[in-house]
């Protein structure tokens, strides 16, 4: 067990190291940030001063070494554009992204679980076929394009909901979030629904498959033979049992919501981490690009490490296979 955790931990560190080489190497091989930053009429002395200040005159290997040493101290460099620490910029924008992802997770579960249970319970009805066709459509629709259509319909044509930015921020139990004000909710609704679309499709399929399997189990037949109403069978017995796999999968995929929010945030001008990275790529703001990619890669690597470890506790088969290797 300990050996398994140690190997996995070592692998995670190795992945992070390779990623840092790839990201840092790639970012430093393309583009010239000085050109973007400096007034084109600046003289040679000025250009050289800026290059020296940013540390760009040193060899790439030396820059990488400084980057690693500083990263361990929690310093991922300062933004060329804002002049502030990149880490601080990202952390400032993290709550906006997290609240968008959480709210869209909530929307997708509320919509998808009832539809999935219905489609699994009546697999041959017309409505179920429509639901399943809809879920394939949901997989096929490009998220950003749906976002554009949402803006066009609900913001431009109907004028019901705002289409850009984050709304007023309220405080509840010491947490600041735009989810606690009406204005904030009206701002978050469209982007969250947009981000939820993909998840809705996958949760519908998952729920439907789970329901179809569970409905054949003995305990459902037993519950029915006890004379429990069909409504209770579905709402209590079926729902409770499909929630377990759904919660696991959805929990695991929370990370992918954060990754995909890059697209939604750009369409809806949502001031989160995703918009920051896209803006930084446009501006060739290397420290922010590197910091964002390293933070998100670290996040994913450790999320997976934790999931792997939890699985070995829950399912001994994984552990045996791991020890065997």
């Amino acid at each position: 067990m300990t050996a398994f955790i140690c190997t996995r931990f070592a692998q995670s560190i190795l992945v992070l190291f390779i990623m840092s080489l790839l990201v840092f190497g790639g970012v430093n091989l393309v583009g010239d940030p000085v050109e973007m930053l400096i007034n084109p009429e600046a003289d040679q002395a000025e250009v050289e001063r800026v290059i020296r200040e940013l540390g760009l005159d040193r060899p790439v290997t030396e820059q990488y070494w400084y980057f690693l040493v500083n990263a361990f101290k929690g310093d991922l460099g300062s933004s060329f554009i804002f002049g502030e620490p990149a880490l601080k910029l990202i952390i400032q924008r993290m709550p906006a992204t997290l609240e968008l992802a959480l709210f869209s997770l909530f929307i997708s579960l509320i919509i998808a679980i009832p539809l999935g249970i219905y489609a699994g319970y009546n697999p041959d009805s017309k409505a179920s076929k429509v639901i399943m066709a809809g879920s394939i459509l949901g997989f096929s629709m490009p998220t950003f394009w749906v976002g554009i259509i949402f803006i066009m319909i609900f913001a431009v044509q109907l004028g019901w909901l705002p289409s850009t930015g984050r709304g007023e921020i309220g405080t509840f139990m010491g947490i600041n979030s735009s989810l606690f004000t009406l204005n904030g909710l009206s701002h978050v609704f469209l982007p969250a629904l947009n981000l939820a679309l993909f998840k809705i499709s996958s949760v519908i399929r998952l729920t439907r498959a789970g329901t179809r399997e569970i409905i054949l189990q003995d305990y459902i037949t037993f519950a029915r033979s006890k004379g429990i109403s069909e409504k209770r069978v579905v709402l209590i017995h079926v729902l409770k049992n499909i929630l377990i796999p759904i919660v696991t999968v959805v929990g695991l995929e929370f990370g992918s919501l954060i990754a995909f929010s890059t697209v939604t945030e750009t369409v809806f001008a949502w001031p989160g981490m995703g918009k920051l990275i896209i803006d930084s790529i446009y501006n060739l703001d290397r420290p922010v690009i590197v910091a964002y990619l390293m933070i998100i890669v670290t996040f994913f690597v450790f999320l997976n490490l934790i999931v792997d470890i939890i699985y070995t506790f829950l399912d001994p088969r994984v552990r045996i296979k791991g020890d065997h290797q």
Binding site: I136, S140, P142, W145, A259, I277, F300
Partner: protein, 292 residues
């Protein structure tokens, strides 16, 4: 009738049992035709500066200009005919998607089959890399490559290959593991055929069915991902206007109500991706032994 032909006809009959998938397949063929012959079927060449006039910019659908040119789907901000731009865009989108899919199929099945064949340390290292990569969402993998190395056609294709190869590797390995224990592989070994020959002439053809299923679904995914990346301005450069770039161009006109500039390329993208997905979904059901 040769057995091969009979088998093929049986497959066609099986495939046609699902009417939705059949329709989707023909729609896809039509799209493919339009994409390949874009210069012939388009009413105008949208990137020929001699015919495009800025005077025609942002004309709504079904309009005509002074010299009698008809614009079925309207024009964009530069006065280009939308339907022609979409046909040319389909060409770029499908080209990038299919090309990256083929490369990923080759690379993925090479590593997958060789991992299953040789086993041991080699297999566990390859499959560990596959597992690690699949734990990252596809858009993040693409974002890392394009954010670090910048945009461009080759870089987009490389990013799409990197996103997809692991799926092919995993599929190829799992079907190759089944095939390796079959008698024909033993027979080939007894004949002292080389490893390469056994892997790619004997095992690979028998793993093709699941690889084709993964291939269709992955190609749809790649096309959609390329559109997303190009929309974000990270994928293809403006010299290669794919559907994603067209949608992105229309985005800025949307607040003034010129919906057609970004809606129609999106519809084309949706139909393309959905038709491939429907075909892939049906193929998966057909090849899934548990459903028979």
């Amino acid at each position: 009738m040769s057995p091969k032909l009979r088998k093929f006809l049986e497959f066609c009959k099986d495939f046609s049992s699902n009417k939705v998938a059949l329709v989707a397949f023909f729609i896809f063929l039509l799209i493919l035709f339009v994409a390949i012959f874009a210069p012939l079927v388009s009413p105008t060449d949208p990137y020929d500066l001699n015919t495009v006039s800025i005077m025609n910019s942002r004309l709504p659908p079904f309009s005509e200009d002074f010299s009698g040119n008809y614009f079925l789907l309207g024009t964009d901000g530069a006065g280009r005919d939308m339907i022609s731009a979409i046909f040319y865009g389909l060409r770029v989108s499908l080209g990038v998607g299919v090309l990256s899919g083929i490369f990923a199929l080759i690379i993925g099945s090479f590593f997958g089959i060789s991992a299953a064949f040789f086993g041991g340390r080699y297999e566990s290292i390859i499959m560990r890399i596959v597992d690690i990569q699949l734990s990252f969402p596809s858009i993040l993998v693409a974002l890392i490559i394009l954010a670090a190395f910048g945009k461009g056609v080759e870089k987009t294709i490389i990013a799409l290959i990197l996103v997809q190869w692991a799926y092919y590797a995993r599929t190829a390995r799992s079907s190759a593991l089944v095939e390796i224990n079959k008698e024909y592989v033993d027979a080939a070994r007894c004949l002292a055929f080389g490893n390469t020959r056994i892997m790619f002439k004997h095992i690979l053809p028998n793993c093709m069915a699941p690889l084709i299923v993964v291939g269709t679904l992955q190609t749809a995914h790649a096309i959609s991902l390329e559109a997303t990346l190009s929309f974000l301005g990270l994928g293809l450069p403006i010299t290669e206007p794919s559907l994603g770039l067209l949608i992105g161009n229309g985005f800025e006109y949307m607040y003034s109500g010129d919906f057609w500039i970004s809606i129609f390329p999106g519809v084309a993208l949706l139909i393309t991706v959905a038709s491939i997905n429907l075909v892939g979904d049906h193929l998966r059901d057909m090849f899934n032994p548990r459903l028979h």
